[in-house]
Structure formats: structure tokens, C-alpha cells
């Protein structure tokens, strides 16, 4: 294969000493030793563009990059310090922040709806909601978690969470070659999930959803799972009567890489947005399977400084320009990484007065009269 479509499609390929095609060539030549000493090995942000466009359907993102990184780690190459810290935190505490697992439920403090903490009182539920690390701990994302709790309750869904027992599902660590860490998380989570009775798992995090859908079954851990966008879109008839408060705004939607390009799920998020009265949905010039990555996937979330140093740009800064070009008032997202990434990018662009970043959950909750109005 010499077409090079992977390299020309890669949003950071031009900045890599060893872009995807060259890595394949080095592997052919049995000279990967050179690659693993290059910063390039840590620069893939797991956007899946190369995998989707490869005419031979080589899944570079899920196979080639993790394999090269695994080789690097096994050879004793040290990952960049911030990634190392994220790995260690996942290993020790089950979350990338290094926070106490006992604080996983802090987001729900003083919440007016009932939160079923299955770790304290196991009972059968319809939905096991995996809140995820960012919505559990990150203040901006905690708003989204509370809005989600209110929406699920309003819809009459019998839902529960794992409280202090919840741990990251992994995925970014797998993409970054830490297969052992991923396996450990899979084994722990499988034992944890098997203790409870539920009909399906609903997740906020597209990366975790992707891991649960595709990679957990390889370890004998098969659980029915949905990303929240498809789960809520399937209940749109039930949601519609609640959507009474108009949100009079031009809204553009950023397709996250895992739900979008990787799982080819483009319509449910848009259906949710278009159901909100007053919303005018406009598209960015790169949308759906061609959407530009925010740069946070595959561990890129913890490598901003490294990738900016070696790549010369933050992809979220580039992407926010696409959103501004549409004239939208709101950039809607459906991934916990993206709220903080794009809110930072809006500040870099000095466009705080023109563009707000909101999770789809927040917009739905506002229209349903349940929201906290985050992101102001």
C-alpha cells in the first residue's frame, strides 16, 4: 500500500516526523526503532480519519498506532510526563485526575432528584448510567451530569449509577499502547458490572462507549451499551412534549470522532437538536465523517502541551474557527472532553461574546425547563 491517503488525511500528519504511511514503511523495513524514539509516536489523537479513508480498510487507529506505542513502552521509552501521570492515576485510582474514588458522587450533591447508588443498595434498573470521569469530577461537566440525571428522571427511566465503585472504562490508554492497563480495567469492570442487574448501559463518554462496544467483548465482557445521544434520540417522542422553552439560536454540531466517524452515528445528535424549538441547525464546512477532531481523543487530552510543541497547533483552536465561520451562536457537543477544550479555544479566539459551547444534554434540559444553564 503506497497511496498515502492515511498521511494526507491525518490532521497532524504534516507535523509528524513519522506520519502513518512512513510508520508502515519503517515496519516493513524492520526499523521501528527509529519511530519509537520520535515524538511522532505520541502525536496520533485517535480521530479515525485514516482508518475510515484507507482504501484497504486498514484500521490504523485501533491497531497500528497502539501496537507501535506498546512496542515503545515495552522497550522502556518513557511517555511524555503528563501522559505518564494520567496512566498512573488510572492505575491507582481508576480516574485520570488522580482524585479520590470516594468523591465520584460529588457532582450529585444537593441534587433534587433521586440518585440510585447501586454500590450501596443493589437493585435492578433499566439503565446503568456510567457517568464517566469528567462528568464526575470536572466542575463544568458536573453541570451536564446533573442535567442528565434530571432528564432521565423526568422521562421516568429507572436508572442507577455505580457511585464510588465506578472506574474509567479505558480506551485512551489502549490507544496509547497501555494494553496492560486497559486489560486490568476491563477485568475489574467486568466483575463490577456482573454484580448488578440492568437492561443496558448508557454512557456519556464516546471513547468509553466505543471501548465497551468493540473491545470489551474480546475479553468476554459483552454488555448492551448506548451512547446517550442514541439513547435519548430513540425516546424523542417521549421527550418532545417536554421541549417547551424555545432556544432561539443558530446551533452547529461538532461530530465527535468515536460516535461519529468510528460508529457512523451522525443523525441522532442532530435529531435531538432539531427537536428543540427555536434551534436553527447549521453545519460546519467539515461535518459528519469529515469533521475535524478536537484533538482530545486517544490520550491527546493529556498531551496538549506536547502536541502543540511538536505539532504547532491545537486542533480545537482550528476547529473553533470552523464553528465561528458558520455564524452560529452555540457550538453543541456530545463528548465530555469537548466542553473544556472548545471553551478554551473560544477564549483563545476571543469569541466569548459570539459563541457558547453547550452539551446537547444542557440544551435539552434548558428547553425542558430542567437545566442549570451551564456554559455562560
Amino acid at each position: 500500500m503506497q497511496c498515502g491517503l492515511c498521511t494526507s488525511s491525518c490532521p497532524l500528519g504534516d507535523a509528524m516526523e513519522y506520519p502513518p504511511r512512513r510508520i508502515i514503511a519503517e515496519a516493513w523495513n524492520n526499523s521501528l526503532e527509529r519511530v519509537i524514539h520520535s515524538p511522532s509516536v505520541w502525536m496520533c489523537v485517535g480521530c479515525y480519519t485514516c482508518s475510515l479513508r484507507c482504501p484497504r480498510e486498514i484500521d490504523l487507529t485501533d491497531t497500528v498506532w497502539p501496537a507501535v506505542r506498546d512496542y515503545a513502552l515495552q522497550e522502556g521509552i518513557q511517555p511524555p510526563p503528563e501522559l505518564r501521570t494520567a496512566f498512573q492515576n488510572l492505575y491507582l485510582y481508576g480516574n485520570v485526575f488522580g482524585y479520590s474514588p470516594r468523591k465520584r458522587l460529588d457532582w450529585a450533591r444537593n441534587l433534587e432528584v433521586t440518585v440510585r447508588d447501586l454500590s450501596k443498595s443493589p437493585e435492578p434498573v433499566e439503565v446503568l448510567w456510567l457517568v464517566g470521569c469528567y462528568p464526575s469530577y470536572h466542575p463544568r461537566n458536573q453541570v451536564v451530569a446533573r442535567d442528565m440525571a434530571r432528564i432521565l428522571t423526568a422521562l421516568g427511566v429507572r436508572w442507577g449509577i455505580l457511585g464510588k465503585e465506578e472506574r474509567a472504562l479505558g480506551d485512551c490508554d489502549r490507544l496509547f499502547g497501555e494494553e496492560g492497563l486497559f486489560e486490568m480495567l476491563v477485568e475489574n469492570n467486568r466483575r463490577l458490572f456482573e454484580r448488578f442487574k440492568f437492561e443496558k448501559i448508557v454512557l456519556f463518554d464516546p471513547h468509553a462507549y466505543r471501548a465497551l462496544e468493540k473491545f470489551y467483548p474480546r475479553f468476554g465482557a459483552s454488555f448492551p451499551a448506548e451512547h446517550y445521544t442514541t439513547f435519548l434520540a430513540s425516546r424523542l417522542d417521549q421527550i418532545r412534549p417536554w421541549l417547551k422553552k424555545p432556544i432561539n439560536a443558530r446551533v452547529t454540531y461538532h461530530d465527535n470522532c468515536c460516535v461519529g466517524r468510528r460508529c457512523l452515528c451522525f443523525d441522532p445528535p442532530r435529531q435531538l437538536l432539531q427537536a428543540i424549538p427555536g434551534v436553527e441547525l447549521v453545519e460546519m464546512k467539515r461535518n459528519r465523517e469529515h469533521a475535524l477532531c478536537c484533538g482530545g481523543g486517544g490520550g491527546g487530552m493529556w498531551l496538549d502541551a506536547f502536541i502543540t510543541e511538536h505539532g504547532g497547533r491545537r486542533l480545537s483552536d482550528v476547529r473553533i474557527q470552523h464553528a465561528l465561520e458558520t455564524g452560529a451562536d452555540i457550538l453543541a457537543v456530545s463528548c465530555p472532553f469537548e466542553l473544556s477544550r472548545f471553551e478554551d479555544a473560544v477564549k483563545v479566539a476571543r469569541a466569548e461574546d459570539r459563541l457558547k459551547v453547550r452539551d446537547i444534554i444542557e440544551l435539552l434540559a434548558d428547553s425542558m425547563g430542567l437545566g442549570e444553564g451551564g456554559g455562560r
Partner: protein
């Protein structure tokens, strides 16, 4: 060179510390533990010395808390021998207990150099290293951030940090005890697959249970959270109200006139 690294668990500060109802100690049942940071550096420095000059690295730890996972990780990093000292008490050993126990063990191990973290957040004075050196009648250099061969008359060179960013180069004859502040490079990351492999293959050696704990010469009278004597004032209200309140404060303090 045969190096022995001492590792200890300390309360993990990601969890809030809980004091007993009697206010006589931390509530150990509600305390999570983690590897003492400067002990982690001591092990790294030991492995770096082995990689540079050859030899063996042994690690010794008290069998307390979840020490096994820590020892597997250190074995995966390159430690050759792991020794666990039995310990059946609710709380981790204090510095005197560490020193007294190791002073009986070290002479049996044919060790040239003992490295230990120069302090921990449970022991700011960093007494374990000096107490051990005194008990062994070996020289001690503390607050070390690098070691290398090449002193005069077969001695080794330790780089010691003083306050005010002053660095001293000290010669020390072996055997010796070194209190490590930081290793010459950050402790290495080792993939979890290696740790899991170590958990399958590493065999711990065990050391004798130390003699009955001697009554420490200094006893804790009371452990408590310091009472708040002052607090920050959070300014609330609209932007105009907050701005006016700020102006009032600055005027009252004489910053604005």
C-alpha cells in the same frame, strides 16, 4: 555494588485524613496508603546506579497495607530481590522502628549502600535514614539528588542539596546510608503488563518479625485538625456589587485613597 532500597507506605493524601474520636492518632482503618514519594526516587536512583555500574538492587518493605502491589511495580522496574518484613500492627512503623528493625537485617544482606527517601509527609524531620546509619555505625548523607562513582580513595560522590539552591558534592566511603531527595531522573514509568507479569513471577523473601515494639521516647498526646483562626471572604452578588465591595476593601486598607 549491592544496593538496598527501603520503601515505606504513607497516607495517600488524595483521601481526607480522619482523626480518631479520641484524637490520639489517625484513623488507620479509613486511611489509604501510597508509596512514599522520596522512597520511589530512592529505588529509581538505585536502579540507575545498577544500570550504570552493575550490581544488584534489593528492596525491603514492611508488610503493611497493599505493599505487594508496590513491590510488584518495583520488581517490574528492575529490582532484583524483594524482602518483606512481617508487620502485624494497625499503623505503619515509625522511623525508630524502621531503623531498629533494619539495623538487625542489613548486616545479613551483604549490602554496600542503603538508599532511603530522605523524608516523607509523615516524617518531615527525615530521621529514619540517620537513625539507621547511627545504628549501623555507617556514614550518612541526606537530601541527596544524585550519586556517582569517582571520589578519591574509592569513595563515592553524592550530590546534596542545601537551601538557597546551593549544591554540595560530598565524598562518602562505603558502606553508607544515603537519604535520597530525588533521583537523577524521574522514576520511570513501567507498563502495567510488566507489573502483572511481575505479580506472576516474583517471589518475596521474608524477614523475621521485629522484636516487640519498644515504647517510643516521644509520645503523641493529641492529633487534631488545626482550628480555623481566619477565613477568606467570598464576594458575592452582581458584578457591580462585587466591584463596589472591592473598592470599599481597598479604601479601608489604604490601598486606594
Amino acid at each position: 555494588m549491592n544496593i538496598l532500597a527501603v520503601v515505606r507506605l504513607v497516607p495517600d493524601l488524595v483521601e481526607p485524613l480522619v482523626v480518631t474520636a479520641e484524637e490520639d492518632n489517625l484513623n488507620w482503618d479509613q486511611t489509604a496508603f501510597t508509596l512514599n514519594e522520596s522512597d520511589d526516587h530512592a529505588v529509581e536512583e538505585a536502579i540507575l546506579l545498577k544500570e550504570k555500574y552493575g550490581g544488584h538492587v534489593s528492596v525491603v518493605a514492611f508488610d503493611f497495607g497493599d505493599i505487594d502491589q508496590v513491590l510488584y511495580m518495583l520488581a517490574a522496574k528492575g529490582v532484583d530481590r524483594v524482602i518483606k518484613i512481617s508487620w502485624s500492627h494497625d499503623e505503619p512503623p515509625n522511623s525508630l522502628e524502621v531503623a531498629r528493625t533494619l539495623s538487625r537485617l542489613v548486616p545479613k544482606l551483604n549490602v554496600d549502600l542503603v538508599v532511603i527517601g530522605c523524608q516523607s509527609h509523615t516524617e518531615f524531620l527525615g530521621m529514619a535514614g540517620p537513625q539507621l546509619a547511627v545504628a549501623l555505625n555507617w556514614p550518612y548523607v541526606g537530601v541527596v539528588r544524585g550519586v556517582q562513582e569517582g571520589g578519591t580513595a574509592g569513595r563515592w560522590t553524592a550530590f546534596k542539596e542545601y537551601p538557597g539552591a546551593v549544591l554540595a558534592q560530598m565524598e562518602v566511603s562505603l558502606p553508607a546510608v544515603l537519604g535520597i531527595l530525588t533521583a537523577s531522573q524521574p522514576p520511570r514509568y513501567v507498563p502495567v503488563s510488566r507489573i502483572r507479569a511481575a505479580a506472576q513471577s516474583v517471589r518475596f523473601e521474608t524477614a523475621d518479625t521485629p522484636a516487640e515494639i519498644e515504647e517510643p521516647p516521644v509520645k503523641i498526646q493529641r492529633v487534631y485538625l488545626p482550628p480555623a483562626v481566619t477565613h477568606a471572604e467570598m464576594l458575592t452578588g452582581s458584578e457591580a456589587e462585587v466591584a463596589q465591595r472591592l473598592v470599599d476593601i481597598l479604601l479601608a486598607r489604604g490601598v486606594l485613597k
